[in-house]
């Protein structure tokens, strides 16, 4: 018998499953499709903006009081969020895809065992000290806008806009997903020095498909990595940071990043003032692109590999079509198959199906807003006329996207009277009410912090 069945394979579900499985629980994950991790930038956005304020949040620990009282972060508090992030960082180190607060890492990560042995000793991740706790930084978006981010993988560290080194934004010829001139121009408008360069990768690609995803796969190959490194190093000027679209390899990503870093810094060394920087300052970084996101795919793969190692099966293609509860206990859920419904039985269930985008919530023409698995009571605008605002980019966001499940501070879904609907059901992630994770730039923070809290709730209830 499963201790925990997680429904949903996004960051919330997978990290919650990881947390629970690490504590020794027998866990399985089912999901209708692959998770939203594939769409996002691959950074951990904790809280970028709060309503009615135009400027980005500088330190999320200080911004929490400005959130509505029922906001998931308010249910958790700073300490619980920090603990969850700490656990997440430990996971990323274990998975050899370390995430840190940009500005806190000064050295390269350890490539995974199969990769370059000699650089292993240099890998080191510093814990976030108290002075820096909660401080957001700003990374570069594909159009050159600042993205408020809390944690980022090594590959995105050097895009930190707190850094004053000049930037070169590098595009690839013919790639429809990245426009370095647009990005550089907007950076210049904000007072940064940025120039552009373009690489022609057709000699090493041999494919018509030059999407970032396909490029990243090509750059897993040793010979392609060597050629590419050569091109990038030739192009970079001493002291510059090199920004590339996020395509620096998939499985052999760390190896490529290390190579690039060393090559770029080596070239810089010829001019003496940068000689001390070898191995100490990251100079190559990725800029996220439109879905599918290569950094997101790497994070997804890291989670899946760790889960497989813990014996957690992740079964995709399972659409919930029913459930059975007696009293306040869910007995089983059913998913549709080619023939008869398939029954899944577990002691506890964690709902991590996401919001309207993830498919956890469905809003129909008549203005009904439904939770798609357990038909839980939702907090939602009462009529379609109250769903949207006239301006797409309205900073307040569209009310329908705050629709979701109300939970108590144990992350148990609540009914209208404020009592838990089921004793063995938890909910976490974008399905929660009182937050618009995309508008707030809090999606990953909510996923990690609430997923971790809900998993711990399950662990404690065992």
């Amino acid at each position: 018998m499963l201790d925990l069945l997680v429904i949903g394979a996004g960051l919330t579900g997978l990290f919650a499953a990881y947390t629970a499985a690490r504590a020794g629980l027998h866990v399985r994950v089912i999901a209708h499709g692959a998770g939203a991790t594939h769409w996002h930038a691959g950074t951990i956005d904790l809280l970028g903006y709060v309503e009615n304020r135009d400027e980005a949040v500088a330190n999320w620990t200080q911004a929490l009081p400005e959130l509505p009282p029922a906001h998931p972060y308010r249910l958790l508090g700073v300490d619980a969020i920090a603990t969850a992030l700490d656990a997440f960082q430990q996971f990323t180190v274990a998975a050899a895809l370390p995430y840190v607060r940009p500005g806190t890492i000064m050295s390269l990560p350890a490539p995974s065992a199969s990769e370059d042995e000699s650089s292993q000793t240099r890998g080191q991740v510093e814990q976030i000290d108290n002075d820096n706790l909660g401080r957001n930084c700003q990374l570069i978006s594909p159009v050159g806008a600042p993205r408020p981010v809390y944690l980022a993988p090594t590959a995105q560290q050097a895009g930190n806009l707190e850094d004053d080194r000049p930037l070169v934004i590098v595009g690839l010829e013919g790639m429809p997903e990245f426009y370095p001139a647009l990005s550089a121009e907007n950076l210049q408008k904000q007072g940064f020095y940025a120039r552009t360069a373009t690489l022609n990768l057709s000699p090493l690609l041999r494919r018509r498909d030059i999407s970032p995803l396909q490029m990243a796969r090509t750059l897993d190959k040793l010979d392609a990595q060597a050629q590419f490194t050569e091109m990038v190093a030739d192009m970079a000027a001493p002291g510059e940071r090199v920004g590339l679209p996020a395509l620096l390899g998939m499985d052999a990503h760390t190896r490529l990043l290390t190579q690039l870093q060393e090559a770029v810094v080596d070239r810089g060394r010829d001019s003496a003032q940068h000689s001390d920087r070898r191995g100490t300052v990251l100079s190559v970084f990725e800029i996220p692109t439109l879905p599918p996101s290569v950094p997101g795919l790497r994070l997804d793969a890291a989670l899946r590999i760790q889960l497989a190692g813990l014996g957690v099966r992740v079964e995709i293609g399972m659409e919930v079509c029913g459930f059975h509860a007696t009293g306040r206990r869910i007995q089983w859920i059913e998913t549709e198959t080619g023939s008869r419904p398939l029954r899944h039985t577990a002691r506890n269930y964690l709902l991590a199906t996401g919001g309207i985008l993830g498919g956890g919530i469905y809003a129909d023409r008549c203005g009904r807003v439904k939770e798609t698995v357990f038909d839980l009571p939702l907090t939602a605008p009462h009529a379609r006329s109250h769903w949207l605002r006239p301006l797409f980019l309205d900073k307040r966001g569209h009310p329908i996207f705050q629709a979701g499940v109300s939970v108590n501070h144990h992350f148990r879904p609540l009914d209208q009277s404020g009592a838990p609907v089921y004793d063995n059901l938890w909910a976490a992630g974008s399905i929660l009410a009182h937050t618009d994770p995309i508008r707030e730039r809090s999606r990953e923070g909510i996923a990690i912090a609430t997923g971790y809290a809900a998993a711990n709730g399950v662990i404690k209830s065992q």
Binding site: Y179, L357, W387, L393, I438
Partner: protein, 619 residues
């Protein structure tokens, strides 16, 4: 201030205006057309795309029916590539009157509208989503027409015949001279809305082809033209539901037409009388009505994914006795051979026949003609009537040639749904797609930018269908802005040859079916046509691709807002989910709402904001 001199000045760049410019230029007049926004920005770009067989009006509005079938035959020759030969069904659903179908068939016969009754079962085989309870089906030569392409093709034909077309040029003043009895209109003051410069155009004759805005234009000449403005709401589905135009076989009403146009089916329409042709709210009840009525034709239609809603305004005109002035118009409806069954009460009942107002006869104002009313289907005939009247006023006799002169692009043959996919496949252009939904390649976009006035991304949308598919600009807005920005940065101006958007928009690098520019030049003749005088050849800002893309952040935000106002009224279910993904892209990944602000606004920024289809929650 710039000055121009011309014989005929056309106001309005929709189907009618471009048609008038084409006709006038073919007859050898020096012709200038001004349009305050992009070509087809008005009603022409907001209609369902039905090339009428006329059958819809055989009982209610026989004059219009006769005009339609005759023009239907002509346009298939002159604008072949703008038309998909879908054919049309008139179907009798259980809710429709029993006696209408027979009267309908008889009227079709009487008015020479080809009409064949076919077994309902065979209609269902051809269109399996149709309501299985339909009892009778008539097949008629309805078709689907691309009004953007047709206007561009007509405009190109007009240019080749020597006309000058000035989009983003707004009429601000009409120059009147003389006193009572000898009043003359001698020209106009025009504002270049991109550069802000003024332009004086002296003209022997001004033709008001401003469609729903005709009343406003006439008012500048101190003449009253009372338009009946009928707002029609339309919806587009995510993919085609039928490949045939479907009409309910009944008196025309709301939500009784399905038009397969490009990749979607358009459901049309409502008919609400409105006071002004702009700022048209789309009400929830109108959407619900369309869907409820649509279900009667295709059961389940209300549950299918709707991509977008929009409203257009029919520029209907019914000549009435004006106080103090005798009615002297040549409005054909007044002298109809075919009496309509009802008298006009509201816009649904107003005639769809064209209305020609010769203001010399009607109002004693020389040099001014208004052509309005009508249908898209009859735009060529409207142009012909207007230029006939112009000839009369100018005292010359030059026969109309448009009915026998194909516009550029007809050699491509009829449009067919698969042509873009076919070309992308043949030339393996999959990785060059900018707008994946509508299969728009980078080179199509570049061509449209370089050879056509592009002030906003919305102009590109009309040229190549950018952002018109399921994701409604989710993926391509960013790409298009990036490409435009790149073009500005350098290699843009290497414009070779005369590319135009008069052809079916072709992903293929080599337009296999289209002639070379030289061939076109020889095919489209008159080298001897006099051209308008003045410094018009100096490119205005509106046709300068450099200026067009100087504000990429503005372009991006404008287009996102333009797409939003069309999706907001229909956001539920899967399209709401789609919009959330679009939000993820523009907020989470691009942070487009915190880009540095470009200076100023485009001519249309405020339009996109004000013409919002939903009301503010806090209002």
């Amino acid at each position: 201030m710039k000055r121009m001199q011309t014989e005929i000045l056309v106001i309005g760049g929709g189907a009618t205006g471009t048609g008038v410019a084409w006709d006038a230029a073919l007859r050898g007049f020096r012709t200038v057309l001004v349009e305050k926004r992009d070509l087809t920005h008005g009603t022409t770009g907001r209609y369902h795309g039905l090339l009428h067989s006329g059958a819809r009006y055989v009982l209610k509005d026989p004059d219009s029916a006769v005009e339609c079938i005759s023009e239907n035959r002509i346009l298939r020759r002159t604008h072949t590539h703008c038309i998909e030969d879908t054919s049309g069904f008139f179907v009798v659903t259980p809710e429709d009157e029993d006696d209408y179908p027979d009267r309908f068939a008889a009227a079709c016969r009487r008015l020479d509208v080809p009409c064949t009754e076919i077994p309902a079962a065979s209609a269902l085989r051809r269109e399996p989503l149709l309501n299985p309870r339909i009892s009778r089906v008539f097949e008629l030569p309805d078709a689907a027409a691309d009004s953007f392409l047709a206007a561009h093709a007509t405009a190109q034909a007009a240019r080749q015949a020597g006309a000058t077309l000035l989009p983003y040029h707004e009429l601000t003043r009409l120059h009147l001279s003389g006193g009572d009895g000898n009043r003359t209109l001698s020209g106009a003051t025009i504002l270049d809305t991109v550069s802000g410069e003024e332009l004086h155009i002296d003209a022997d004759l001004v033709i008001n082809a401003a469609g729903a805005w005709s009343g406003h234009v006439a008012a500048l000449a101190d003449v009253e033209v009372k338009m009946i403005l009928g707002k029609g709401v339309m919806l587009a589905t995510n993919a085609r539901l039928t490949n045939t135009v479907i009409n309910r076989c009944k008196m025309p009403g709301d939500g009784d037409i399905l038009v397969p146009i490009h990749t979607v089916t358009v459901i049309g329409t409502t008919d609400e009388r409105v006071a002004e042709p702009e700022d048209l709210p789309i009400e929830q009840w109108e959407i619900d009505l369309m869907l409820t009525e649509g279900d009667k034709l295709v059961p389940g239609l209300s549950r299918t994914r709707i991509l977008r809603a929009w409203a257009g305004v029919r520029p209907l005109y019914q000549e009435t006795q004006l106080p103090g002035r005798p009615a002297q118009s040549e409005n054909r409806a007044q002298s109809s051979k075919y009496p309509a069954t009802k008298l006009p009460q509201d816009s649904r009942d107003a005639t769809r026949a064209l209305a020609l107002l010769d203001h010399q006869q009607r109002d004693g104002l020389r040099g001014f003609i208004t052509i309005t009313g009508g249908k898209w289907t009859t735009f060529r005939l409207m142009a012909e009537s207007a230029v006939d009247a112009a000839c009369e006023q100018l005292g010359v006799s030059r026969p109309c040639r448009t009915a026998d002169t194909p516009v550029p692009g007809v050699e491509q043959g009829h449009y067919w749904l698969g042509h873009r996919l076919n070309e992308v496949e043949d030339e393996n252009l999959q990785s060059e797609l900018v707008c994946e939904c509508e299969l728009v390649t980078r080179s199509m976009l570049e061509g449209a930018v370089q050879r056509n006035p592009t002030v906003t991304l919305d102009d590109l949308r009309r040229d190549v269908r950018l952002g018109m598919g399921p994701c409604q600009g989710g993926f391509c807005t960013y790409r298009a802005v990036g490409i435009l920005h790149q073009l500005r940065a350098g290699n843009a101006s290497s414009a070779a040859g005369e590319w135009n958007v008069a052809h079916m928009q072709s992903p293929a690098h080599h337009h296999r079916d289209s002639p070379t520019p030289e061939q076109q030049a020889t095919a489209s003749e008159p080298a001897s046509v006099p051209t308008p005088q003045g410094d018009f050849r100096q490119r205005s800002a509106a046709v300068d691709p450099q200026a067009a893309v100087s504000q990429p952040n503005l372009l991006l935000r404008d287009f996102l807002q333009e797409r939003w106002k069309g999706v907001a009224p229909i956001l539920w279910g899967q399209q709401l989910r789609q919009e959330r993904l679009d939000e993820l892209i523009y907020l989470s990944i691009l942070n487009a709402d915190h880009l540095p602000v470009d200076d100023g606004e485009s001519p249309l920024s405020s339009f996109y904001r004000s013409d919002s289809s939903i009301s503010d929650l806090d209002r």
